[in-house]
Symmetry: C2
């Protein structure tokens, strides 16, 4: 058959909603020789990975492991293990990933109640309190509340700690999607008393996509142990995955060995930087970016007070073709940013500053490139004001 060329990409500057840029050390770790998934040397790498994940999650949970799939597999794991057919759950929806949670929960056989707020806004704790009280008044009991921490489709950061308190007061588990937030903003699983939290490797952990870190606390384990039916997914069944990642090392499936090398290295980089310094870095560059975008004459999309530091959304000005603007950025600058999803298609840009991509260089570059791309379509983007506004933020922090 036809011979295809080798992959020889020069790469991109990844400033979209993920994947984010990857440190060369992580790429290098990928290329270490593959060893067996039950090799004593690999078991040591698994242990270190687990301990570093516990650190980044802010938890002592023994069940803290990378699921062998991308973030969406993490979502499915976080729901399928704790829902049995007929269970009632409450999902907070403020964007695409909340919708996905509701879809996945319904496929697990749950009766799904939802709270929906307009995309770009945050779910309020009061709404959760009301929904749970209402379900109880009707004689129902909600087993689990699901919420997305940083909603990747809108750039909104939601108040998961408050929602967790309310869920617990009503005897429900809290399941948190930290796909976009983990490693870029505090998730603090134990301090916030979160029961089940999952993430993805390709956002603020700055590792290529392919794994979904997950942690489960005591309440989650109790529910898992009390199940009366088998978990409907064999691949994502935590009762078996625990036995592989635990002391027994019981074979379940073949771990994606080189992906774990890469995650291990990306976690080492996080430990070296320090979590507080890393969060401060994400806050600083997000602030500069947001100031720059406003300085350019653009309007930020996400609700003020709830803006995620690692993912900034901005409204596409009237008359601008956002696909053409993104194509120009890719062609002329090698920069990838995201467009809107679902109802926001064509209406917003999504600019990520995650992990290795979160630098002053990239802030100044995207402001320059975006202003140029918008100007090319006739929008009066003030690129100079944008850079000056960002510079003010950097000077104030110096």
């Amino acid at each position: 058959m036809q011979q295809f060329e080798a992959v020889n990409t020069a790469g991109r500057i990844l400033l979209g909603p993920g994947p984010s840029g990857v440190h060369p050390r992580v790429l290098r770790a990928f290329s270490m020789p593959t060893i067996g998934h039950l090799d004593p040397e690999f078991l040591g790498i698994m242990n270190a990975t687990k301990q570093m994940l516990q650190h980044v999650f802010g938890t002592a949970n023994e069940l803290t492991i990378p699921i062998s799939g991308t973030g969406s597999a993490g979502m499915e794991t976080a729901l399928v293990n704790f829902i049995e057919p007929g269970d009632r759950v409450l999902i907070c929806i403020s964007g695409l990933f909340g919708q996905r949670m509701a879809d996945v929960a319904s496929r697990c056989g749950a009766q799904v109640d939802t709270i929906e707020v307009p995309w770009g806004q945050s779910v309020q704790p009061d709404q959760v309190e009301e929904a749970l009280a209402e379900a109880e008044a009707k004689g129902g009991r909600v087993k689990l509340v699901g919420i997305v921490h940083a909603e990747t489709s809108t750039g909104v950061l939601q108040p998961v700690a408050e929602v967790a308190k309310i869920a617990h007061a009503h005897g429900a588990l809290i399941v948190v999607d930290a796909v976009t937030s983990l490693g870029g903003a505090p998730v603090d699983v134990d301090a916030n008393d979160l029961d089940i939290v999952y993430s993805g490797t390709q956002k603020c952990l700055s590792c290529p996509p392919g794994l979904a870190p997950l942690t489960v606390g005591r309440r989650g384990l109790d529910v898992l142990r009390a199940r009366s039916t088998k978990v409907q997914s064999w691949y994502l069944d935590l009762t078996m995955l625990m036995a592989y990642w635990g002391a027994e090392r019981f074979y379940h499936h073949t771990a994606p060995v080189n992906m774990i090398y890469a995650l291990h290295e990306s976690l080492r980089l996080i430990v070296e930087e320090g979590l507080e310094a890393r969060y401060a870095r994400h806050r600083l560059h997000a602030e500069a970016l947001k100031a720059g975008l406003e300085g350019m004459g653009l309007a930020l999309f996400a609700q003020e007070g709830f803006r995620a530091p690692m993912l900034t959304t901005v409204t596409v000005p009237e008359g601008i073709d956002e696909v053409a603007a993104r194509k120009r950025l890719l062609a002329q600058y090698g920069i990838e940013i995201g467009g809107g999803l679902g109802p926001l298609k064509g209406k917003i840009f999504r600019i990520g500053l995650m992990g290795y991509s979160c630098t002053k260089t990239n802030v100044m570059l995207i402001l320059t490139g975006l202003a140029e791309a918008l100007a090319a379509q006739g929008f009066n983007a003030d690129g100079r004001a944008a850079l000056e506004a960002a510079a003010v933020v950097y000077e104030a922090s110096a």
Copy 2:
């Protein structure tokens, strides 16, 4: 927190049931810069990967994609998409992976009939004919027959083409596990009229674990389209995965970009070698290994006439501690081989010669190392006879 050391493994000689050794070109491909999963450049890599997978599977099936999980995720995809609650299925069990198929099918809500043969033997086509006729006589209809091509727990290669004919004669789909066989023995999806076939990357494709190539033919698509319920797994839902890998490029989940680089390169290596040459290589070295093991005084475990070329099983002699023997091989030779699973624990060795690991060098090395490890436990292993018997095979083929 504590700083962990970087992964700095010197690697192993991988002669177990998988993962197999990985060509340096594949490891190098891993470390190309990550780009976006919707980047035009990545879409080109996806297309090439798909075409090369079609070639290796021997199929023109449009739906031929790598699932974003390991081989077991491929198994789950192959069942969960085609089974609806209450469907009757027939699973052929001759080892652990047949058992797993039955477990996964039952979690999909299927009524599971099974054919079971002693581990080490092959299911016979007549048994399938009888089981299907029996189900029909009772008024049942079997929707799907599942069978493992090369049973990784026993080293037996089963007659999937004959079983497919019988399944079709009874109006059932055939689902084939080609995790261990693909790339090492002909699977020939179209010539054998197989409906749904999945594999894993870490066996004869000689790519690290992490992806599960899958192909679905016309009958499978018809069943998928005729479903009356949603697929219970969101992550593995082929109706949505097709839209991402198809012309629409509709976002589903973030593809494991660097894993696909690696698969792409491992497929390029297969295309370069040529399928017929590759199968001949697997047959030759398997024959030499088997001759050597018998020459050493050991008994092959798998039923004669049904022995898989890429995975040889051999009975552990009376009084030998197989774990100790394998530990010695790992410590003194850096060689990994496998032990028995389930009822075969302690009773067999499993020696893989897959993909990049399938060489004369490795055959002669494992014969030498195994003879030494057995002799160290007092077994009278004739290492010289082993090497001579293997050499005879090589000379005959020269």
